[in-house]
Symmetry: D2
Subunit: 343 residues, 4 copies
C-alpha cells in the first residue's frame, strides 16, 4: 500500500510533526510506503513527487514549516486539473492520499473524494483555529504563545512611556488568536473580526486605563474593522484598490485614530509572520502527532473522505465535506465574557 502526503495553504507549526507521525506509524505498524508531493496540490498536478520514509522524517518533530513545501494551488481552477491529479496518482501508484491543510486544501480533497473517487483522508490545519469541526488545530497554540509573549514584553515598554501600544495579530475572519492572546496577555482592549468596533468606545477604554495610571495594550485581529465606515474613508491610504479597508493595516490606522482622539502617544506592532514560524509548542506537537497517527488508522480502516478532528481530548473523524462547510468564529457570548477586562 502506497500513501501520498501533501501539505497545502499557509505554513503552520506542527505540519512536520504530522508528516513524521504518519510515516512512523505507517512504516512501522503497517509497512506502508509513502510518497511526498511538493508544494501542496501543485506538486500532484506537476508530478513532483519526493521519497518519504523514516530517514526523511528524522529530527523534524520540533521544526516549524513543512519539509514538503506548500502552495495555495487549487487543481479545480487549473486546466485539466483533475485529470492531471488522477494521472499523477496513478503513475505514482498511490492508493490513498493524506492531505494536510485548511479549508481550501481540504475542500479540494472533499471534491476529489466525492466526485472522482480519490481515496483521501484529511488532517485539519489552520493557524487561525477557524475550522468548525475540530476543537483545536495545531499551530494555533504556538501562535497564541508567541503573541502572548510579545504582549508581555510590550506592557513594560508601554508603562515606561505611558503610551498606548496597539498589537496587530493574525485572524482575518476569526478572532481566536486575538481573543486568546489578549486574555492571556492581560490586554485592555481586544478587537475581533466578528464584531465591528467603535473607535470612540476603544478610546474610552484607553482613557479609563490611563486614569488608573496604567498604559493600555490594544490587541487587534488583522481582520477587525471599525463600525463607522466614514472614519475610514477620510484616510484613503487605508483603502485598497476596491475601496475596502485594507485589512493588513488596521493596527496602524487604529493607533493614529487613538492619538488623534485621546491626545496620547500610540504605537503599533504588527506581529506578522513571526506568529507562524519556528518550533511548535508542546501542545501543538502533541496534537499534530495524534492527528498523524489517527490519519493512518483511517487509512488502515479504509475510512476515506474523512478528516481527523479533536473533540475534548479525543481524536474523532468527521466527513471532509462537513468539516470544511462552515467557519468557526468567536461566539459573541465568549467575546462578551472577555470584556470584563477591557478598560
Amino acid at each position: 500500500m502506497r500513501i501520498g502526503v501533501l501539505t497545502g495553504g499557509g505554513d503552520c507549526p506542527g505540519l512536520n510533526a504530522v508528516i513524521r507521525a504518519v510515516v512512523r506509524k505507517g512504516v512501522q505498524d503497517h509497512d506502508y510506503g509513502f510518497t511526498g508531493f511538493r508544494d501542496g496540490w501543485r506538486g500532484v498536478l506537476e508530478g513532483r513527487a519526493v521519497p518519504l520514509g523514516i530517514p526523511q522524517v528524522r529530527g523534524i518533530l520540533p521544526r516549524g514549516g513543512t519539509i514538503l513545501g506548500s502552495s495555495r494551488t487549487n487543481p479545480f481552477r487549473e486546466r485539466d486539473g483533475v485529470e492531471r491529479i488522477t494521472g499523477t496518482l496513478e503513475q505514482q501508484g498511490i492508493d490513498a492520499l493524506i492531505a494536510i491543510g485548511g479549508e481550501d486544501t481540504l475542500g479540494v480533497a472533499a471534491r476529489l473524494a466525492e466526485e472522482h473517487g480519490v481515496r483521501c483522508v484529511g488532517v485539519p490545519k489552520t493557524i487561525d483555529n477557524d475550522l468548525s469541526a475540530t476543537d483545536y488545530t495545531f499551530g494555533f497554540d504556538t501562535a497564541v504563545g508567541i503573541a502572548t509573549e510579545a504582549i508581555d514584553r510590550l506592557h513594560t515598554t508601554a508603562e515606561s512611556h505611558m503610551r498606548v501600544l496597539v498589537v496587530e495579530v493574525m485572524g482575518r475572519h476569526a478572532g481566536w488568536i486575538a481573543l486568546h492572546s489578549g486574555l492571556a496577555g492581560g490586554a485592555n482592549v481586544i478587537l475581533v473580526p466578528e464584531q465591528r468596533f467603535d473607535v470612540d468606545e476603544v478610546c474610552a477604554w484607553v482613557t479609563s486605563r490611563f486614569r488608573a495610571s496604567y498604559a493600555p495594550i490594544v490587541v487587534v485581529a488583522e481582520g477587525a474593522m471599525p463600525r463607522d465606515g466614514e472614519l475610514v474613508l477620510k484616510d484613503p491610504q487605508t483603502l485598497d484598490a476596491f475601496g475596502h479597508v485594507r485589512l493588513s493595516g488596521v493596527g496602524e490606522w487604529l493607533a493614529k485614530e487613538i492619538e488623534k482622539r485621546t491626545g496620547k502617544e500610540a504605537r503599533t506592532t504588527v506581529l506578522g509572520h513571526v506568529q507562524r514560524g519556528g518550533t511548535p509548542s508542546a501542545f501543538d506537537r502533541w496534537l499534530a502527532t495524534r492527528f498523524g497517527l489517527h490519519a493512518i488508522d483511517a487509512v488502515r480502516e479504509g475510512d476515506y473522505g474523512k478528516m481527523v478532528a479533536l473533540r475534548g481530548t479525543d481524536v474523532v473523524r468527521v466527513p471532509l465535506r462537513e468539516a470544511t462547510a462552515s467557519l468557526k468564529t468567536v461566539p459573541m457570548s465568549l467575546y462578551e465574557e472577555a470584556k470584563v477586562f477591557f478598560g
Copy 2:
C-alpha cells in the same frame, strides 16, 4: 456579598490568574467584596485573612505561584477543625467560598458543603492533570512545555556523547506529563505509573535506538515503577521506610540499571520544582482566567457545591463530590498509541 478565596495544595502556574479573574469580575460586574485566606485551609482555621481587591490582583496574571500562599492542611484532621472554619467564615462575614485546589483541597470543600452547609465553589488545580471531571487543569500545559523544552535540549547533548539520558518528570499517580512531554519531545521511551515497566524491554528500546545511530531519551514519570520487584530489592537505597520503591528516585535508579545491562553510559536529569514555577503558558492563563470567571457565575447563580471544569472548549459545572471521586489516569489505549515511537 463577601466571598472568601483560598488556594491549597502544591502551587501551580495559573493560580494567580484565577484569583485575578475572580476578583476582577466579582468587583466590576457584581460589586462583590473579597477576602483572601492565607495558605489554604490553614488560613481559614487560623483566621488569617487578607484584603483582596483590584489593587491586590494587578500585574499578577503572568506570575507563577499564588499571592495567597498555600498549604496541605486538612481541617478535618485538626482538633475542632470544622468549628474553627465556620467560626472564621462567620467572623469575616463570608457569604461564599471559592476554593482553588486539587483532590484534597476540594475534598474538604465538598465535605464542608455537604455536611456543614458551607457555600463553596471549587476550581480544580492539579499540575498532574489527574482530575477526572475536567479535560484539563491549568499548570499542566506549562509543566509539559517546560519538560518538552528540557527534552529538546537533552537530545543534542545525548547525541554528542552517544549516551542515554533519563529525564524524570512529575506524575506520582498519573503519567500525563510524561506522556505529553515525551511525545512532544520525541522521547524514545516513555514510562508512566499506570503500567509497571520491564527494565529489559526498556534496555531493548535503548539498544535499538543506538543501532539506528541515535542517542536515546527515556522519559520517566516520578511514580513509574519496574515490573520486577526483585530488581528493586537488591538496592535498598531505593526503598523508603516502608520498603516501597522511593518514588523520587526512579530516574537515577533506572539510569544505573540501563548502564549495567547495556554497557552504555546513562545520565539522569530530575526536572523537579522547575516544572511548577514561573510564568504560566498562554493556554494556562486562558484556562485559569475562564475558570475564575465561571466560578463567579456559579456564585452569582447560587450554584454551590459545584466545581468548574473544562469539557472540550466549554466551561461547565460538576458536583464537587463527583469531581474528586476518581483519579484520571492515562488509558492504556493512549499509552499503546505512543509506543510506535519507542525504540
Copy 3:
C-alpha cells in the same frame, strides 16, 4: 547622604536592575537615602520626586521598563531649565545624582556637572549599543536575543513558501543589532546604516540563495539606506517631509524592490517595540546590576562627572563628556567579516 536617581530616553530591559542595585548597595552598605525622579529630567524640572528604598525595588530585577518612567525632556531647552533643576535638587536635599540614560540624558548630566557643579554619576543606556566608551550597554543583548529568535522562526516559514523574508530591526545610526542578530540568526543578507546598500547587490545575494534551494532572510537595520537615491525618489511615500528616506519603512520598501527585481515573493516583518520590552536577558541583568553597584562606588568615592562603563569584563569609569562624545558604529572590517555568510 541623599542620592537622586532618574532614567531618561527610550526604555530598555535592565533599567530596573540598575535602580535595584543602586538602592540595595546604597542602603545596605552605606546607609544612603534615595529619591526617585519621575520621567527622566522632566521629573527633576517639575519637582516630581518619589520615595525610593528597599521596598520599592523588590521584585523588579526581572522586569523590563523602568519603575521611574522615562522621557526625552532636555532641561537646557526648557525656559529656566537649569534653575529649576538645581532648585529641585536643593529642595529635595539631593547630594548626588545618578542619571541612567543615553547620549542625550548623559549629555545633560555632563553639562550640569561641568557648567553648574551638579554632582552626577552616569550609567550608560542605549539599546542600540552605540556608545563608544563602553564595550556593551544593557538591553542590547536582550534585543539581539529577541531578534534572533524571530529570525529563527522566520526561516521555517520562508522555506515552506520559498519566499524572501525581510526583517527590520532597531538601529537608527548603528547596525549592531542587525549585525549580531543577523549573524546569530543565520541571515543571508545584513544591511546596516554604516554602509549604504546596493539593491541590485542585495537581489544578487537573494537570487544566489534561491539557487541553493534555500529561502533568503534579509536583516535590515531601520536606519539602513540604499546607495542609489533615485530609486527612492520614485516612491514618494518612503520620503519624509524633508525628502529623506523614511527610516522606519526601509524594510517594507526593500521587500517591494526585491519583488520587483527578482520576481520572487517577499514579505516584511518589522520587529519594533517588541525588541525593547520584557524581561532582560541574564547577561543584561548582570551588566545592569554591576553598573548599579559601581555607580554607588563612584558616589562613595566622590568621583563625579564620570560614567561607569564595561571594558572586557571590568567595570571602569570614564569622564561623562568623553563618554557621550562619539557614536560607536560598526567598523567596516567587522561588517566585511560577516559578508562570508551573505548570499
Copy 4:
C-alpha cells in the same frame, strides 16, 4: 590545503556554530578542503574521518551539541598515541588541524604542536568559562541563561510555600555560572568552589530572608564545598570512594543541613545536563561564529600553535600553551561585590 576539524570534551552550545563558520569561510574565501574527525582525538587515533563541506554544515548554526561527536580521549595516554595521530593526519592529507575544546583537548593540541610539529589552531570551549586566556567562551552565556530562567521559575514556587530552594548549577572548579545566574536570578545566597562556605552563615542568610517575608533561593555550584569538613563526615553517603565530598551532591546535602538547622522546609533542584544542551543563545552563536572565522584567518596566515580568544570585543590569538596554563576562577573581589544581595 586540507584542514582537519575536531571537537573534544563535554559538549557545549556553539560547537556547531564554530564548525559552520570554519567551513563556510574556508571553502568560500580560500577554497580549502575539510575533513571532520569523529569524537575528538579518538577519531584521529582511530582514523575515523568524515566528509565536511558546505552541505554538512547547513542548518547547524542554531543546533546544540556537535555534529562531529566528542570524547575525552587523550592520545598521550594511549599506546602509540602520537604515532597513530600523525599517521592519520598524513594518511588523510591534513595540512592543519583546528581543535575545538577545553583545557584537555587544547593541551593535547599544544603538545602535538610543540613536540611533534603538528600545525594546530585552537578554539576554546568550556561551558564553565574557566579558561584564563579569553574573556568568555561560548556555551557559558547559554548555560547562565538556562540557569537564570530556572531560578526565575523557582522564586514563585518557593514563595507560595515559603520554603528554601537550593539550585545546584554547573561549575566544578570555577563558580562563574553560579555567580552570573545567581546575580541575574536574584538569588539570596550564591556559593562557589573558590570559597568554602560556612553552613551557619548560609543559614543566617536564609533566616534573614524569611524575616523579610520572602522565600530564599540558594544557588550553589556543583564544586562548592563546606568549610567545616566534619559536618560532611557525619553523612558518609556524600563521600566518594576516596573519602572526598561527592561534588555532585552538594545541593542535596546543603538542603538537608538547612532544614536541620533552620527548621524550614528546603528543596533541591539539580539543573544538570539541561544547562549544556539545546540551541545556543544569540551571544554564543555570535562568539562561536567569530571564533570560527578567526581560526581560519590563523590558518591562512600560518599562525599555528595559537588559540583564538575574546578580549573585550576583539578576537585575538594567544599561544596554545599559555592559554591552557591556568584556570580562570572567580576573583574574591567580584564575589564580595555580589554579597550585597545575600540574605
